[in-house]
C-alpha cells in the first residue's frame, strides 16, 4: 500500500499553506529550572496573535462556569500571552484550574490553540511533594497495574477501603470520591498474546483489511475484556487484528506535568507503531483519549516533529471512526439484532477534540430498537485524572452536575461514553451502569451479552 498523504502534502497539493504544526525541538532545559521549562518554545504561543478576544471560549468553558477561581481559557492563555515573551508559558497560576478538556480550542472561530497553550503553561507550575507523589502514580497507570498485579487482591481491596481512601485523600490529596478501576487478573497482552507482533506480518493470500490495535494501558491493565470484545467485533467484520509493541500513550504524564517522561513514552510508541503506519495499516483504539494523544497531543502539545509522528498520527483512528470511514461496506451489510434499550450517550470531550463528530452514534443508530439521547454537557468533569485530585474534585463534580442531572431526569438503562475515565466517573456519580459503545455493538452482533455493572474502587 502507498503511504497515506500527510496534511502538509494534502494542503500543498491544493495550493494552500498548511497551518504550521506546532513544532518544537525540545532543547536542554536551562539549568536550575523545574521540569516543564523545556516546553517553552512551542509555536502554540505564536498563534495567540490570532485571538480577537471574542470570549466565545470563555462562554463555553465548563470549568470557568463553575468556579470563579479560573478566569477562563482566554484570560490565562492568549490574553496573558500579550504581556509575555512569545516563548514564555502563562505566569498566571490559576491556569492550574484548567482541566484540559479542549472545548476552548474546538469552539474558537479563529483557530487559536487555546487549550494547548494552557496545557503547556500548566506544566511549568510547581507543586508540593505530596501532590508530586500522588501525580507520580496517577501519571503511570500502566506501571501501577504491572507492579500491583502480583498483590492484586490486596491492592483492589485497598482501592475499595473507605479508610485507606480517606487516608490517601488527607495525605497525598487523592480524592476519596474519585472512582479508581480495579486491576485485572491478566492483562490483555497476556490474554491475546497470539496477536502480539514485533513487526507487521507479511500479508497472506486474501487481501483482508488489517488493523494495528492500540489498546491503551487502561484496556490492557484494568479492562482487558473491553479489548477482547473489540477484537471479536473486528474479527467478525473480517478484519485481521495485530497488537503492535506499545505502552501507555503518555497522556496521563502530560496532564501531570511531566513532559519529559511523556515524550519518552511517545517516542517508544512511535517506534512500535510506525512499521504499521508506514505500510498504511490503520492504528485503531477504543479509548478516545489515547487515540487523541497519538493523533494530536504528540504534535501539538509535546511538540514532536518528524515523519514518524506525522505518519502515526494520521494513521490513527478512533474505533468507530474506523468502522465508519474504512469499513462502511461491511457495516452496511451487517445483520444487527434489535436491542430494546434506552441509552444516554455522552461524547467525551477528548472524542470531540478529534474533530470527527460522533462516529459511534452513526454506527449505533443502525441498531433497531435503541432509543438514544445525546447529552448536552461539554465535559463530564473528570477530564482524565483532573477529577481524581482532592483540590480539584469539587470543581470536577460541579462541571459534571448538568450531565448527572440529565442522567437522573432521563433514567436510561445504560450510559454510553467512549473514554474509560469518563465511564467510571459517570457511573460512580449517577449510579447508572456505564458502557463503551462497542459493547452495545457486540451485543447487537450476538457476540456476547452485556456485562453486568463493574465494580469500581
Amino acid at each position: 500500500m502507498t503511504p497515506r498523504p500527510t496534511l502538509g502534502s494534502f494542503a500543498e497539493s491544493r495550493g494552500v499553506t498548511p497551518r504550521p504544526n506546532v513544532t518544537l525541538t525540545p532543547g536542554p532545559s536551562p539549568a536550575g529550572r523545574e521540569r516543564g521549562a523545556g516546553v517553552r518554545a512551542s509555536l502554540a504561543m505564536f498563534d495567540s496573535d490570532l485571538c480577537v478576544k471574542c470570549n466565545i471560549c470563555t462562554a463555553a468553558c465548563p470549568v470557568a462556569a463553575v468556579t470563579d477561581r479560573f478566569p477562563g481559557p482566554k484570560a490565562v492563555g492568549p490574553q496573558m500571552a500579550r504581556f509575555l515573551h512569545p516563548r514564555s508559558p502563562s505566569i498566571d497560576p490559576s491556569v492550574a484550574w484548567c482541566s484540559g478538556c479542549g472545548v476552548c480550542s474546538r469552539v474558537c472561530p479563529h483557530g487559536v490553540p487555546v487549550a494547548e497553550m494552557n496545557i503547556i503553561s500548566k506544566a511549568a507550575i510547581r507543586t508540593g511533594w505530596r501532590q508530586r507523589l500522588r501525580d507520580w502514580g496517577l501519571a503511570r497507570p500502566a506501571v501501577v497495574a504491572r507492579w500491583s498485579r502480583p498483590l492484586r487482591p490486596f491492592v483492589n481491596a485497598a482501592l475499595r477501603s473507605g479508610f485507606l481512601r480517606t487516608a490517601a485523600d488527607r495525605t497525598i490529596g487523592l480524592a476519596r470520591g474519585g472512582p479508581l478501576p480495579q486491576v485485572a487478573a491478566e492483562s490483555l497482552r497476556h490474554r491475546r498474546a497470539d496477536l502480539a507482533r514485533q513487526q507487521p506480518a507479511q500479508p497472506g493470500g486474501a487481501a483482508r483489511p488489517r488493523v494495528a490495535f492500540f489498546h491503551g494501558c487502561s484496556t490492557d491493565g484494568y479492562e482487558p475484556w473491553l479489548g477482547e470484545t473489540t477484537i471479536r467485533v473486528l474479527e467478525r467484520l473480517g478484519v485481521e487484528v495485530e497488537i503492535p509493541p506499545q505502552g501507555c500513550c503518555g497522556l496521563p504524564l502530560q496532564s501531570n506535568r511531566n513532559f519529559a517522561a511523556a515524550r519518552r513514552y511517545a517516542r517508544e510508541n512511535l517506534v512500535g507503531l510506525h512499521p504499521w503506519a508506514e505500510r498504511g495499516i490503520p492504528i485503531v483504539g477504543t479509548s478516545t483519549s489515547c487515540t487523541l494523544a497519538l493523533k494530536h497531543e504528540y504534535r501539538a502539545v509535546l511538540g514532536l516533529v518528524g515523519p514518524e509522528v506525522e505518519t502515526v498520527s494520521e494513521s490513527t483512528y478512533d474505533f468507530f471512526e474506523y468502522l465508519d470511514q474504512v469499513l462502511a461496506d461491511q457495516i452496511g451489510a451487517l445483520d444487527l439484532r434489535p436491542l430494546a434499550l434506552r441509552l444516554l450517550y455522552h461524547p467525551p470531550c477528548q472524542l470531540r477534540s478529534h474533530r470527527i463528530g460522533t462516529p459511534a452514534l452513526r454506527i449505533l443508530r443502525r441498531i433497531p430498537g435503541l432509543e438514544i439521547v445525546v447529552t448536552d454537557a461539554e465535559c463530564c468533569g473528570v477530564a482524565g485524572t483532573y477529577g481524581l485530585k482532592s483540590e480539584l474534585y469539587d470543581v470536577a463534580v460541579n462541571v459534571g452536575a448538568d450531565l448527572f442531572a440529565q442522567a437522573r431526569r432521563t433514567s436510561p438503562d445504560l450510559i454510553l461514553t467512549d473514554s474509560e475515565t469518563c465511564r467510571w466517573w459517570i457511573e460512580h456519580h449517577t449510579q447508572v451502569p456505564s458502557r463503551h459503545p462497542v459493547e452495545i455493538l457486540a451485543a447487537s452482533l450476538g457476540l456476547e451479552d452485556l456485562r453486568p455493572a463493574a465494580g469500581l474502587g
Binding site: 496534511l7 470563555t58 462562554a59 470563579d68 493523533k295 483512528y317 470527527i356 439521547v373 448536552d376
Partner: protein, 407 residues
C-alpha cells in the same frame, strides 16, 4: 435511504437549516470551524432596516438576496423559526403588522422584526417610563452611558438604580451571572439585596443576564418576586440572547439527529466520476489529519466577509473559502472599501450568486455544481449591517436552500 445533507457553518443559517433538513427526514451533518456569528449577536431577527417584514421587493436593488425570495418563503421561514424557538422554551415576539423598537446598550434604538420575549418587553413604544439597573462589577454594560444617550434622544428614562451582586474573585461576565441566576438560592439572596432599591420602580431594564438555558423560568420568577416588569438589553458579545438561541438551536439539531462536527476547517471535494459536475463532500482537517465526509448534497452556510465565508488573495482574486468558487470584486482594491468606516462597505456585498434552485452559479446563471447549495451571509448583493437584513436573509435563504436541496 434518506437523503444526506452536509452543512458547513454553525451560525443562524447553518443551525436553522440543519434542524429543518433533519425534521424533513434528511441525514444531516453540520461541520464548523468553531462557533461564531450567532453567539456574538443580539438574538433578534432583523429583516429590513425599517423593521417591516412585508417590505416591497421592488425597494431592493436587483441581485439582492431577498429579492430572489418570495414573500411567502420569507413568512414561512420566520414562522418555522418562531415555532422552533417556542419549542425550545425561548419564545420570540413578532407582530406582523408593526415593528419592534428596542433599546440598546449604547442608548440607541434597534428596529427589528422579532425579538426574544425578554428583549421585546423593553419596547420603546411602551410609554411606561423605565429605570436602568447598574449591576456592580459587570463591566460589559453601563447604565449611565445608556441613560444619557436615551435622554439626549428624548427617551423617557426615569433613572438608574444600583443593584449589588456578591463580589467575585475575577471579572464578571454576563454568562456568569446568567448561570448563577439559574440557582434559586442565589436568586433568593438577590431578592433580599435588590428589593430595597425597587421603591418607585415599575419597569426595570437590565443587561441580558436573566438565565441561560432556563431563561424563561428565571425571568418569570424574578419579575414576580421583585414586583416590577423587567426587560433585558443585549450586552457586549458574547451576549446572552445570542448564546441562548445558539444553544437552543444546537440542542434541537442534536435531538433531531443532526451530527455536529465541531472544530475542523474544510475544503470542498468534487466528485471526479461526475466529470466535475457534482460535489461529493468535504475534506476536513481533523486531529488525525485530512478525513473525507461525503454527502449527496452540500450547503454552504459559511457567512460573509466577517465570518470566514470568503477570502481574498494577493493577486486580487476573491474566492469562497470551501470550494474556491470565484466571487466578483472590483479590480482596484481601493474600490473595496468606502472612504468612511461608518458607510456601507462595498466588500460587504461580495458573495455568491445563486440560480433559481439556490445553487451558486456563474454570471450567466449556470450552476457550478448540481448539488452544491448556499445560504446566509455568503450570498452576494447585500450589506447586511447597514440594511438591517442579516437574520432575514439567513432564515429565508436557509429555508429555500433546504427545500431545494431535498426536492
Amino acid at each position: 435511504m434518506s437523503p444526506t445533507l452536509l452543512i458547513v457553518g454553525q451560525g443562524l443559517t447553518g443551525l436553522f437549516s440543519a434542524v429543518l433538513a433533519a425534521r424533513r427526514g434528511a441525514t444531516v451533518r453540520l461541520i464548523a470551524e468553531g462557533r461564531g456569528g450567532l453567539s456574538l449577536s443580539h438574538g433578534c431577527v432583523d429583516i429590513w432596516r425599517n423593521g417591516d417584514i412585508r417590505f416591497a421587493r421592488r425597494s431592493l436593488g436587483r441581485g439582492h438576496p431577498l429579492s430572489e425570495l418570495p414573500r411567502e418563503v420569507r413568512a414561512e421561514a420566520l414562522s418555522e423559526f418562531l415555532q422552533l424557538a417556542q419549542e425550545a422554551r425561548l419564545p420570540y415576539v413578532a407582530a406582523p403588522d408593526r415593528v419592534l423598537r428596542l433599546p440598546t446598550a449604547l442608548g440607541s434604538v434597534h428596529v427589528t422584526a422579532a425579538a426574544p420575549y425578554s428583549l421585546a418587553a423593553g419596547s420603546l413604544d411602551d410609554p411606561t417610563p423605565f429605570h436602568l439597573g447598574r449591576i456592580g462589577g459587570l463591566r460589559d454594560f453601563s447604565a449611565d452611558l445608556a441613560t444619557s444617550a436615551f435622554r439626549a434622544r428624548g427617551v423617557n428614562v426615569a433613572g438608574t438604580i444600583d443593584l449589588p451582586v456578591p463580589a467575585r474573585a475575577r471579572d464578571l461576565y454576563a454568562h456568569d451571572l446568567a448561570r448563577l441566576l439559574e440557582d434559586p438560592g442565589y436568586r433568593e439572596s438577590l431578592y433580599r439585596d435588590w428589593t430595597p432599591h425597587m421603591k418607585g420602580v415599575t419597569r426595570l431594564g437590565l443587561p441580558a443576564i436573566l438565565g441561560g438555558d432556563h431563561s424563561l423560568e428565571v425571568f418569570t420568577a424574578m419579575e414576580q418576586r421583585l414586583g416590577v416588569s423587567l426587560f433585558e438589553i443585549p450586552t457586549l458579545p458574547p451576549s446572552l440572547p445570542g448564546l441562548r438561541l445558539e444553544r437552543a438551536l444546537r440542542r434541537l439539531a442534536v435531538a433531531s439527529g443532526v451530527e455536529v462536527i465541531e472544530g475542523p476547517s474544510v475544503r470542498g471535494e468534487v466528485d471526479g466520476r461526475s466529470a466535475g459536475r457534482r460535489v461529493s463532500g468535504v475534506v476536513a482537517t481533523t486531529a488525525g489529519g485530512p478525513r473525507v465526509f461525503r454527502s449527496q448534497a452540500v450547503l454552504l452556510a459559511t457567512g460573509g466577509a466577517l465570518h470566514g465565508g470568503w477570502m481574498s488573495f494577493a493577486n486580487g482574486e476573491v474566492q469562497d473559502s470551501v470550494f474556491g468558487l470565484p466571487l466578483e470584486a472590483p479590480e482596484d482594491r481601493e474600490d473595496w472599501t468606502a472612504p468612511s468606516l461608518f458607510e456601507s462597505q462595498p466588500f460587504s456585498r461580495f458573495g455568491l450568486r445563486l440560480d433559481s434552485r439556490r445553487r451558486p452559479c456563474d454570471r450567466r446563471g449556470r450552476p457550478y455544481f448540481e448539488n452544491l447549495y448556499a445560504a446566509g451571509g455568503i450570498l452576494a448583493g447585500a450589506d447586511r449591517s447597514t440594511e438591517g437584513c442579516r437574520q432575514g436573509i439567513d432564515l429565508a435563504s436557509a429555508y429555500a436552500a433546504v427545500e431545494a436541496a431535498l426536492a
